[in-house]
């Protein structure tokens, strides 16, 4: 059924609002703290740096608090969360280093709350607001539940703090809220716009019940809620102490200057770069189970003097499926790339950085969709694809500068390899979990070095994979292997980092098997593009083997190390799929590496040989893609390599030997 417009949904279609306009709307409903420009101007440099670094460390402490209280492996071991400190109108002064995509829209949620909740139910000391409505902000899909809290100093709203984390299940048709058959949002977890779930320091039972009742694992989600409350409490304790020591005006002046510094330093860097425009495209295959379409996000980045314009004109219309993202997802696709590739030496204060950015996007497109489009997979679908296309555009811009080009990176990983397990665990309890192994994606190649193998995801600087043993302890599964996969990094003069694969069986569940939800694009075409003649990374590859010999193999003390050893029937899985894994079934999932940089035929043959020895590249790829011929003991055969490269130069360009006469 096509998406039908819903009356009133426009109230939640949030777009950023200026501080001046926000103050006008809020009026006298809440007293918003402010500081005179003279205090900002008179800040001494030492105080500025001390307080600024204290703000950074507070976001790290928020993360630590979250991890220590959460019981979800997604949070405790994989860092799929983030935290931020915002000023009184919601501008983000400091974002944490965890999942920057998640925190990129906390400002929108806090600001919307100010504009829509200041009068009823009111905003007061000790309150905290919960939101998982990506049209409002605070996260990119419904699983990203944010909790943001106003901090009052002297009766005035001084600042906001916010914590956001991926919750493993909030209802919807499929376990994990990842409804692979979804055509619109009503198949998914129903979004919750900002609600006051903590009032004057106490959890409101009625609101919490409304929130948890939808989940298949309410106890786990309840624990995460308390972890986020704890993170905000820690932040408020630290910020109050900071205000007591230095005075609220001084702390606020530092916050203002951080925003201004971030803006001015980004503008200064942009002025060093040549003006121009860079266009690129990012694809996704399949919008839902059974769908065989390919969808595109197009971006043209125009840099003029000290301003960036991201124009998404030409992007496909929103689709019936779960891959769309809202405007919050679009912003969440831009900011992480800006932070990691352009702002490594600039304060991570998105509130200041956004002042240098203009976004042109048509509502109703796959990365700026309208309600009630399906968005269950938004964070790793259209938001992630936005990250990919923005990565290519910003890389092109940086490449034109002799110094700044050293910081560019090809697209990393390309997508999230989503595999979700659900059922009854080895302790007899219901469980749902998203496997986060693909947090070890391959990073993109750079202008002077290979991408880091299984180095992570650029948008989640502190992302990590859970130990195999932790997953086996927590869930009814047993690994055959988790390992890097040769040839998964995009070939190039500098090679993209390789991705990896996991292979496991259901194990020790009283039910004998587990439920499996798969949502992993990049099978029809790779999603991590290369740069400057570098090739894309490998494609996503998921295989389900039914009725294998794995149990007998284990019983005889043998651990299979390849799929061909397992027997059974092989199913190459489509992008979206939902099924049950039986006791003798084996699931193999292979995620992507990073894109390459430069022509593979210009790669140092000795580096290719080293890659073959290290199992990063196969001998076949060394010969067919890099044109490097190796001896039986993997040493470079220089004469054969020269001949092979000459032949490849012609053949890949569609030419034959006769081409030589016009190539003196």
């Amino acid at each position: 059924m096509p998406v039908i417009p819903v009356a009133g949904s426009e109230d939640f279609a949030n777009v950023p609002t200026s501080p001046t306009e926000t103050r006008r709307i809020v009026g006298d409903a809440v007293r918003l703290h402010d500081v005179d420009q003279s205090v900002i101007d008179n800040l001494d440099p030492l105080t500025y740096e001390v307080v600024r670094h204290r703000l950074t460390s507070v976001t790290e402490e928020m993360g630590e608090a979250l991890k220590r209280m959460s019981g979800s492996v997604v949070v405790t071991d994989c860092n799929d969360f983030d935290a931020a400190i915002m000023d009184e109108v919601g501008d983000v002064v400091q974002v944490g280093l965890y999942n920057t995509e998640l925190a990129a829209s906390l400002d929108m949620a806090a600001n919307w709350t100010l504009r829509h909740r200041a009068t009823r139910p009111g905003i007061g000391p000790g309150d905290m607001f919960l939101c998982n409505d990506p049209w409002v902000g605070g996260g990119l899909h419904q699983n990203d539940v944010s909790l943001f809290a106003p901090l009052f100093i002297g009766g005035e709203l001084f600042a906001w703090t916010g914590a956001v984390a991926h919750q493993v299940d909030l209802g919807g048709v499929s376990p994990g809220s990842w409804s692979v058959g979804a055509t619109d949002v009503f198949w998914e977890s129903i979004p919750i716009p900002p609600v006051k779930i903590v009032e004057a320091g106490e959890i409101r039972d009625d609101i919490e019940d409304m929130y948890l009742r939808r989940s298949r694992v309410p106890k786990l989600v309840a624990l995460d809620l308390r972890a986020k409350i704890g993170a905000n409490n820690v932040a408020h304790d630290r910020l109050r102490a900071l205000c007591e020591k230095y005075g609220a005006p001084t702390v606020k002046a530092v916050m203002r200057r951080v925003l201004n510094d971030a803006e001015s330093r980004l503008r200064a860097k942009l002025r060093e770069l040549p003006d121009g425009s860079w266009s690129s495209v990012a694809h996704q295959d399949s919008a839902r189970s059974g769908d065989r379409g390919i969808y595109k996000i197009v971006c043209t980045l125009t840099k003029t003097d000290d301003k960036l314009v991201f124009d998404f004109t030409g992007t496909d219309p929103q689709v019936d499926g779960l891959i769309n993202c809202t405007y919050a997802g679009l912003r969440g696709g831009i900011m992480p790339v800006l932070l990691t590739t352009v702002c490594g030496d600039i304060p991570w204060a998105p509130g200041g950085l956004y002042r240098c950015v203009e976004i042109i996007s048509e509502p109703g497109t796959i990365n700026n969709c309208t309600f009630p489009s399906g968005i269950g997979k938004a964070s790793v679908a259209s938001a992630w694809a936005t990250t990919n296309v923005v990565t290519e555009c910003l890389a092109g811009m940086l490449d034109a500068h002799p110094e700044h080009r050293q910081r560019l990176m090809s697209v990393c990983c390309g997508t999230w390899d989503f595999a979700l397990l659900a059922g009854v665990d080895q302790r007899g309890s219901g469980f749902v979990t998203m496997l986060c192994d693909s947090m070890a994606g391959g990073l993109g190649a750079r202008t002077h070095s290979d991408g880091v193998d299984t180095g992570g995801l650029a948008c989640i600087p502190m992302g990590r994979v859970a130990d195999v043993e932790m997953n086996e302890f927590s869930f009814p599964m047993l690994y055959l292997w988790r390992r890097e996969e040769a040839d998964s990094g995009g070939p190039g003069r500098y090679r993209g980092g390789v991705g990896a694969s996991s292979c496991f069986i259901p194990y020790d569940s009283p039910l004998g098997g587990v439920h499996l939800v798969v949502s992993a694009p990049g099978k029809a075409l790779p999603l991590a593009g290369g740069l400057s003649g570098g090739l894309p990374a490998g494609t996503q590859h998921d295989v389900l083997l039914r009725a294998t010999t794995v149990r007998a193999d284990f019983a005889s003390g043998r651990i299979p190390s390849t799929l061909s050893e397992l027997g059974g029937q092989t199913e190459v899985l489509p992008t979206h799929h939902e099924t049950d894994l039986g006791a003798s079934d084996v699931y193999f999932t292979h995620w992507q590496g990073g894109g390459g940089y430069g022509d593979p035929l210009l790669r140092d043959p000795e580096a290719v040989a080293a890659d073959v020895i290290a199992h990063k590249v196969t001998r076949d790829a060394a010969n067919e893609v890099y044109g490097v011929s190796l001896t039986a003991d993997n040493r470079v055969d220089e004469a054969a390599t020269e001949a092979q490269r000459s032949a490849l130069r012609l053949s890949r360009a569609g030419l034959t030997e006769g081409r030589q006469e016009i190539n003196p």
């Binding site: 022509d599 196969t618 569609g654």
Partner: protein, 97 residues
């Protein structure tokens, strides 16, 4: 004075874009790869990293589209995309007056 575009391309004051490997003129500021040699082949020709045929997953044909310097045959751009989509990967650097 030339302006660095990427590993393989540079742009000159007059807007002319040349190959950094062999100095072949490839285009201008508005169309940097105007004169590049373009080929379209099956995705599997990218190497063993393309694990399966796209026809297993999608109805639209998918291709590996590559651009080469017509002289030295350096690979300047490579993308695996739907065959019915023209390339959306373009760059244009301003020419200083």
């Amino acid at each position: 004075m030339s302006l660095f575009i990427d590993d393989n391309l540079e742009q000159h004051d007059d807007g002319q874009v040349t190959c950094r490997q062999c100095d072949q003129v490839l285009g201008d500021a508005q169309s940097q790869l105007r004169d590049a040699r373009v080929t379209e082949t099956a995705p599997r020709t990218a190497g063993p990293s393309v694990r399966e045929s796209p026809t297993l997953f999608a109805d639209r044909p998918v291709i590996l589209r590559r651009s080469f310097c017509p002289r030295c045959l350096t690979q300047l751009q490579a993308e695996i995309v739907p065959a019915d989509e023209p390339s959306a990967r373009h760059r244009s650097l301003s020419v200083k007056p």
